[in-house]
């Protein structure tokens, strides 16, 4: 078990390392760089000659990018290994760690709230569709859920901003809280946070619940057709027991896997949602950083997203055997199979000597 965790941890670190390396070079290969972004901005402001702009940029940054890319890469790896993610290029005086520390709670809050509502709603509708899969209601629900799961997040977000925020002013469409309330643990602030979360969460739920519902329906329907469900009926078990322990537990297996992986996505944030609602989460800063070619912030965000996903996968692998015994316990896999073969052989030898011989 311990060696399994160790092995998996090493693999996880390796994956993170590969992603860091890959994105480091990919990011540098993108057309443009932070200097050019600033140059463009200054050109657009007008009133300056190119020479003046060049001089301005040099003054502004006080440095010229120096050293070949490879040595920058090794320097970056060494910094990251020491927990130093660098400073933002675009936002002066902000460290990447500081930006992420500020953005992460918002992302986790918004994604967790979205996931919770999406999941509960999806599972509920999916179960209803599976339970009454012959009726007209299930047909209508399937149609509706398929439609919504096909709606992209930017469409649902735009429609909500346009209809609910811009025209009717029911809920705010920007930011995580109102600038007029004092930040802290007080009713006004919490109310403002919830108020601001309504539209982003709704937008995420509209696009997300259909997928969970269809998955749940598919999983439950296929479980209900399994041989052991028919067998459990022939045993005269009560419907309640069959539904809970035989259909329920088995149809939840793929759902649990997906939920665990979705938890890994909590830290990455929803790209479109955070961007459209100018919600100050990780994804929002990531998009901004990409626009500004803010290499250190981009890299920081990538590392957070990657680490969260890798960690979620790791936890799924670790805990999945607890809910599905068919997946061998880490480290116990080989032993289990050997035990089975051994007991089978012993049985054949002792219990039926006439047959085995």
């Amino acid at each position: 078990m311990l060696s399994y965790i160790l092995r998996r941890s090493l693999i996880s670190f390796f994956v993170i390392f590969v992603v860091i390396s890959g994105s480091f070079f990919l990011v540098r290969m993108m057309p443009g760089n932070p200097m050019q972004v600033l140059y463009q901005q200054l050109v657009q402001q007008g009133g300056l000659t190119p020479q003046e702009i060049d001089a301005e940029i040099k003054v502004y940054y006080g440095l010229q990018p120096h050293g070949p890319l490879l040595s920058q890469y090794f320097q970056y790896l060494a910094d990251v290994a020491q927990g130093n993610f660098g400073r933002s290029i675009a936002v002066s005086s902000a460290t990447v760690a500081h930006i992420i520390k500020q953005a992460l709670p918002w992302t986790v809050f918004l994604s967790a709230a979205s996931l919770l509502v999406t999941f509960v709603l999806g599972i509920l509708i999916g179960t209803i569709m599976a339970a009454f899969r012959k009726g007209a209601m299930a047909k209508v629900l399937t149609l509706v859920t398929s439609f919504f799961s096909a709606v992209p997040a930017y469409v649902s977000a735009l429609i909500l901003i346009w209809q609910v925020a811009a025209i009717h002013h029911f809920f705010p469409a920007q930011g995580a809280y109102s600038p007029s309330v004092p930040v802290g643990f007080n009713l006004a602030f919490i109310g403002s946070v919830l108020d601001h979360a309504v539209l982003p969460v709704t937008a995420a739920v509209i696009t997300g619940f259909g997928g969970w519902a269809l998955m749940m329906k598919g999983s439950t329907t296929s479980t209900m057709g399994a041989d052991y469900i028919r067998a459990s009926k022939s045993w005269g078990l009560t419907q309640r027991r069959i539904t809970q322990t035989y259909i329920g537990r088995n149809s939840m297996l793929p759902i649990v896997t997906n939920l665990a992986l979705a938890l890994g996505g909590l830290f990455g944030g929803a790209l479109f949602i955070e961007t459209f609602f100018t919600y100050p989460g990780v994804a929002y800063y990531m998009v901004q950083a990409i626009d500004n070619r803010d290499y250190p912030v981009m890299m920081g965000c990538f590392i957070v997203v990657t680490t969260a996903t890798v960690l979620a996968n790791f936890l799924v692998d670790l805990f999945y055997p607890l809910i599905d015994p068919r997946i061998a316990r880490p480290g116990g896999a080989a032993r289990g199979a050997a035990e089975r073969r051994k007991s089978e052989a012993a049985e054949q030898a002792t219990a039926q000597p006439g047959v085995a011989a």
Binding site: A226, D227, Y228, R230, A231, S232, K233, S234, W235, G236, L237, T238, R241, T245, Y246, R249, N250, L253, I323, D324, P325, R326, G336, R340, S343, E344, E347, A351, Q352, V355, A356
Partner: protein, 346 residues
Amino acid sequence: MGSGDAVLEVRNLSVDFALPTTRLRAVDNVSFTVYADDVYALVGESGCGKSTLAAALLDLVPEPGVIASGDVLLRGTNVRSMTADQVRRARMAQIAMVFQAAMSSFNPVVTIGSQVEHVLEAHPEVWPDRREGLEYFDHLLEMVRLPGSRMRGRFESQLSGGMKQRVAIAFACVLKPSILVLDEPTTALDVVNQRLVIDVLKDLREKLGVTVVFVTHDLSVVAELATMVAVMYAGRMVQIAPIDTIFYDRRRHPYVQALLSSIPNVLQPGRAARSIPGQVPRLDQLPPGCRFAPRCPLAEQVCLRDDPELIGDSHHNAVACHPLNRHNSAADGGQELVPGRAVNGA
């Protein structure tokens, strides 16, 4: 053969599969009686309705199948007039089923022991003390030649195919049912495990007094195990007779005759096994008269026109065949039928 009480009586049972456009009759007007000390074999090709018939005994026909008409009597009580809860209680406590898919008939995420407990919990009247029920299960496991208590903590995935089949049999007996119905109990097993299952079933019958009804297409298993044989063809019962009549008496239904001829004979290596010409008719394209007539060497005009009835005492020999029944009624001799005015040629 066939003494003791009638434990199971099926009367004019028909099972339909309601498809969007048509209704197909998978089991058509079938009647038979199983007595306490019978080992009853339901024999037929794939798709003849034998598994559907077995499932219909406890109202377990998979959708879209429905019991269209007929009665199933368990020791005289009609299952068809029971309430849903009474049927639930009768399941496994009176008739226990081991499905064809015994390999996958356990919940994969719950231990075998927990599933036994679920059964005990659903039928508290059989084992008021659950511990005793579990001990009885261990005892049954030993009877099917598996190490008792060690099996209970296992998951289905930790058992081999042969073990699963035997665990399923022991499992089915835990409520001391009077009838044990097995659908293809030896299919998908290697010969060693087939032998084992047959021995185990003989044992259980002797020691527990359970009446065994099994469905199979394998005539060698029938020869090993059965005392009574009911042969089905395209949803109909074509012959019901004691095992000796089927294997040694020559007054068998031409389909049964053809089935027997299709088995290679080890004692006469020179004689090739013969396949039956033609195919089992599709349920939506049944011929008007006898369903076997288009493939039958004895078929006459009347066979193509009229549906034969199952005539005769099943303890002696009941056959649904025009030429055979005419012959039997003329003289109760043991002669083999010679094709006379057969329309298909011999």
